[in-house]
Amino acid sequence: MFDRVEAFVRDVRELQTEEALAGALADVSRDLGFRYFALTHHLDVRRSSAAIRIHNYPEGWAEWFDEQSLGATDPVHRASNVTSVGFAWSRLPDMIVLSADDRRILDLARCQGIGDGFTVPAHVPGEAHGSCSFACAADDPFSERHLSLLQLVGAFSFEAARRMRRARFAAPPIQLTDRQRECVMWAARGKSDWEIARILGISHETVIEHLRHARERYGVGKRTLLAIHALFDGTIGFLDVLRP
């Protein structure tokens, strides 16, 4: 079966459209024993036009999912944010605390004909988290035999989708000056403007200016959001902020 995955990897390199990728993914998923696939960024896709989402789930299920704005709260998506290795959905209760709503979503999916599944997380630094999931039809048996191959299919598919998206929605990365970045790092550590001025040996007004420019570059109004955006795209690192 590895030959099948090798051929898939070779093929997707040449594909140019998400429709073509969806077709190739449906084929390889079926060959590996899975009726459905869903490749997605973990965002509310109705609000983010640059978000990737392709799938072959039953009609109706995906619409309902979007109606509820579940992209970021789906238990499978949440679980895939806590690991970098593929996991079977049966392990969800060991990975995250499942709420009553989560159980309701999982039950509803089953009612729509979606059975057990396997999800490959896709984390690229500085970009929204995503994943590629594979699911059996509700009545089909879930086999663990090809999970390591699905891991590869998920990763290479996500990268192909990412390449297609980039061609359509290329945006230059936001860059801060070194001084702005230092101010943001100290702000993220909870320091006031006055404290940052003392730490860096610059004037209070200059710190205010640096942080104002940094907020403008990210298009946010609040200090907290500035810190979150800068952490998210890797301008500052968690280790910088959490360092004692």
Binding site: V9, S84, V85, V124, S148, L149, Q151, F156, R163, F238
Partner: protein
Amino acid sequence: MTIVVEHGCASPSAERMLRSMFEDRKSVFVDLLKWDVPVIDGRFEIDQFDDRHATYLIVADGDGDHLGSARLLPTTRGHILGSLFPELCAGQAPSGPDIFEITRFCLSHRQPAASRRRTRNRLVSALAWHALGRGIRAYTGVAQVGWLQQILAFGWHCRPLGPPRRFESGMIGALAIEIGSDTPALLAANGIWDIAGEPPVSIAQAA
């Protein structure tokens, strides 16, 4: 600056970089990632492949201290995939004079996140640059699958060499990275290619 140290050379100018590289490798692979690999003098992570056949690509700061590095091993003799993890390949582990294995890809933690990212980009660019200059057609490598998405996201052409397997240290897979004249453009499309003003400098073998 970025330098290439070939044939395990130990010229004085490279010595400081190599020393701080072996120290950073200890802090990354032993202290942080908890790999079970040998440590010399309690300070340096040096194993049996750090010999005169190894080539090092090193990104260093103005003082010559290590910021990031990778070790290249020839696949025509013992190397990590061929000798230690052959079961990760569906067929034979790729080998030949134009195939090298990337090992010990290391980014120093003594730099903030933004700088670490720049170092990473310069190191990945140097890998492509070095391969094109030396007629290296492909790199191979063994990696935790958690890194796979990042390696693919650099934009270069990769292909899996076999199904990943679960080891005590996690799930591990083997990959080939094909280098060609289009590689710099593929890296550039992902904002990785960073070599322009300052191509890597090769340091010749010491006598």
